[in-house]
């Protein structure tokens, strides 16, 4: 009777990398759904393009690096990167923008560093920043939410634009796109307007104004649908925490520090600094807090380290938003903090059982 020998522990929890990644994708669903509702079909097409490009790029690199294809493709991490990047792109980005972004994310930021687990920078954010720096025009052209748009594009029309640059007859790209609330805030504040005036300009849609009467924070904060998208990601993120796929430390520290710092400035001068609620529910904050900053590979390791890491992102986010050159800055904040991770890891070690104290 031949016996198999192995070393302890002989049992393993059923959790696997694949499962972790799939759960993350699942948790993105509510946010993505709301996004599509407000901004149309572009995101769906972007996700599909990004996913295909990611799988091709990952497979090619794995073959070049002679790694077992099935095992490494099966971890689904490339898919997560692709979806996160697609979410960060404007919904009407041309297809080649997406492909270039994914290429940088997967090939340069991930595989050239040694693949999953070895990349010091968040791949999706590297892809995003490369695009933002190289193609600033395309990257800052956002659609207004559909209920406010003068023209509701159909799926085919969106596809025609993404793949062929063809707009429906009689429409110009400029007429279709609009600055995001963060842009608006930034530009108008720069022109000397006050927060109250700007908020009036941003306008409210029907759903949010109805809700505004019930829950006063909505509609008045991130501006037009953005807070709903953020709420969707918040929901997914909370579910991830509940399922223990991610820890609470990074999101709590990041949102907490953002709320504190924006709160302090808003209290100091409410007419020139937007409220914490606006900051928390605009742009890609919730997506960033729960899905991007929590990328385990590039985040700090220990619990106290993660608190510091998250807080750092929150503060950088606010600083760049308010005083920096870009209206939203999740990508920059995350990448900057990625650089600090080795130092954080070195400084913030948890107190080992039986050491010091007592």
């Amino acid at each position: 009777m031949p016996l198999t020998t192995s070393t302890s522990p002989h049992v393993r929890s059923p959790a696997s990398v694949t499962e972790v990644m799939l759960q993350v994708l699942l948790a993105l669903v509510p946010g993505i759904g709301i996004y599509i509702w407000f901004f149309g079909w572009g995101l769906v097409i972007n996700i599909v393009i990004a996913a295909c490009a990611a799988l091709v790029a990952e497979s090619a690199m794995l073959m070049i690096r002679k790694r077992p294809l099935r095992q490494y493709l099966g971890d689904c991490s490339a898919l997560v990167t692709a979806v996160l990047l697609a979410l960060a792109l404007p919904p009407l980005s041309p297809w080649w923008i997406t492909v270039i972004g994914v290429f940088f994310a997967i090939v340069v930021a991930k595989q050239l560093y040694g693949g999953l687990g070895f990349n010091p920078f968040n791949p999706a954010m590297v892809g995003y920043v490369v695009l933002l720096v190289s193609f600033p025009v395309q990257m800052t052209s956002w659609l207004p939410i559909s209920t406010f748009s003068s023209y509701d594009m159909s799926f085919l029309e969106v596809a025609a634009f993404i793949f062929g640059g063809q707009l429906p007859p009689g429409l110009t790209f400029d007429a279709l796109t609009e600055a995001t609330p963060l842009d608006t805030l930034k530009n108008n504040l720069g022109q000397g307007n006050t927060v109250t005036e700007i908020r009036a300009q941003l306008g409210l849609d029907d759903v949010t104004s109805l809700l505004l009467s019930v829950i006063p924070i909505f509609g008045a904060i991130g501006g037009k649908g953005w807070e709903w998208v953020n709420a969707g990601f918040l929901l997914g993120g909370l579910w991830l925490i509940y399922r223990r796929i991610i820890g609470w430390h990074i999101p709590v520290a990041m949102l907490g520090s953002l709320a504190l710092i924006s709160g302090a400035f808003a209290l100091y001068d409410p007419e020139h600094y937007a409220s914490p609620m606006f900051h928390l529910f605009s742009g890609a904050v919730m997506l960033g807090a729960f899905f991007i900053a929590t990328d385990p590979v590039t985040a700090a390791a220990s619990a106290p380290g993660r608190l510091a890491y998250g807080a750092g992102i929150g503060i950088l986010l606010y600083v760049i938003r308010v005083w920096g050159g870009y209206p939203d800055s999740i990508a920059f904040s995350v990448l900057l903090m990625n650089m600090v991770v080795p130092i954080i890891d070195d400084r913030f070690k948890p107190r080992v059982f039986g050491h010091g104290r007592k």
């Binding site: 009777m1 020998t5 070393t7 302890s8 522990p9 049992v11 959790a15 059982f353």
Partner: protein
Amino acid sequence: MKRRLWSFHGGIHPAQHKVVSTHLPIQPQRLPQRLVLPLHQHIGEPAEPVVKAGERVLKGQLIAHASGYVSAPVHASSSGVVTGIGEAPIPHPSGLSAPCIVIEPDGEDRWAERLPVENYRELAPSALRNIIREAGIVGLGGAGFPSYIKLNPGHHKSIKTLILNGVECEPFITCDDMLMRERAAEIRGGIEIIRHALQAEECLIAIEDNKPAAFESMRTAVAGMDRVEVVRVPTLYPQGSEKQLVRVLTGKEVPRDGLCLNVGVVCVNVGTAAAVHRAIHLGEPLVSRIVTVTGSAVGRPCNMEVLIGTPMNELIAQCEGAVERIERLIMGGPMMGFALHRPDLPVIKTTNCVLAATAADLPPVRPVMPCIRCGACADACPVNLLPQQLYWYSKTKDLDKAQEYDLFDCIECGACSYVCPSNIPLVQYFRYAKGDIWTREREKEKSDLARQRHESRQKRLEREKAEREAKRQQKKSALDAAATAERGQAQAAAAMQQAESRRDAALQEAEKRRGEGWPGRKDGADAPPRENDRESN
């Protein structure tokens, strides 16, 4: 009033699989054809045989005596004939053989004379400890540390709390559970004796909340005892680990490198307490123990009272196994037990469980993926280490860094490996790294010693040369003095002085070298030194 409980960081909840082996009461065992008794069943020095091949022995007769302070004697577990003393395969992760005494039972199972203690309270604690030592009792929870040492707190330490460990947090194992259900009175007897030996103020019996029957049984058994309390603790692995349990019950953290004694606590497994009771009240040395025989390959999983030395495959056969192909045979639990190389190895004093596992019980090892730094391991670690960092440094052989990250505080509980979504065998890396560091330290000591020897030899040669030179000078100057009498006196004195000071310098140098001692000895011979005694809070 509900007792306040503390918590420790991390811990996991592996599937329990305990019910399978608790349907039947503790079963008796058929006498096997052969009993194989390894001389080394405990931590410390192996025992030395006091019988010869061909000798007749009675059950409970001493067949090997303890060979040092940390050692335990071995007794014949049934009456019969010693058929051989020599190397035989033993249950050990290495799969190697070790010296054993083999007994062929005569089937009568006849006891040698048993000498129960009439009134142990009249005995001094040291006399009690001696009896416990002679009875060959070691910790039955799995570690196998000779019990009498634990019951010796030394002169200066007073023990506040005696903790009876009935936690049994490993999956599959139920021997302590069944013992507490069926033989609570024996455990009570043991508690009384141990408390007397330790003069402990209070006694806490810790039982996880997945063993309600054992809890009730123990509570009834100790009812009316002064300051004895049965404490229900939440089910969590590895709570049965001594330092973690002390923390949960008392809120005290045993310092690194320290013992429970340092915080005034002694932990004893419930099985050990029952063995102490038998040794004192019945005069029976440790010749048998309760073993859980379980796993899907076993047709009738149960707990058995097993004679030490019984081959495990006989136990499996008696429990109607193997009904399915045994994929892995594990001694101990699936978290910390080890896989055996062959099925006919003997039960030893530390065998709490024989797990005949099918492929379904213990799924095959999945392919290892890269670490994604998810931190699940750090969240699970009961010692609050950062296994992902330790893994990185162990893998890259950066042993200094691994020590800086407190590798030696790892209790090898396996919680980190259990939760790792990348299936990385973390504990295995840590074991290797520890081994590497030990080897490195030993080699360093050796080479340091060699270097010192070489250097002191050099010094000696130099010194001798200097002395010869001095003598020569002396002679020469004496001759010179005779020849040139007018300058003679002064010159000779100067030469003497010079030679002397040169010799002194050489001696001093040699002395300094000797005084240095050799590095790496501060923590005792076995433990490698920790360079970074960092207070991290």
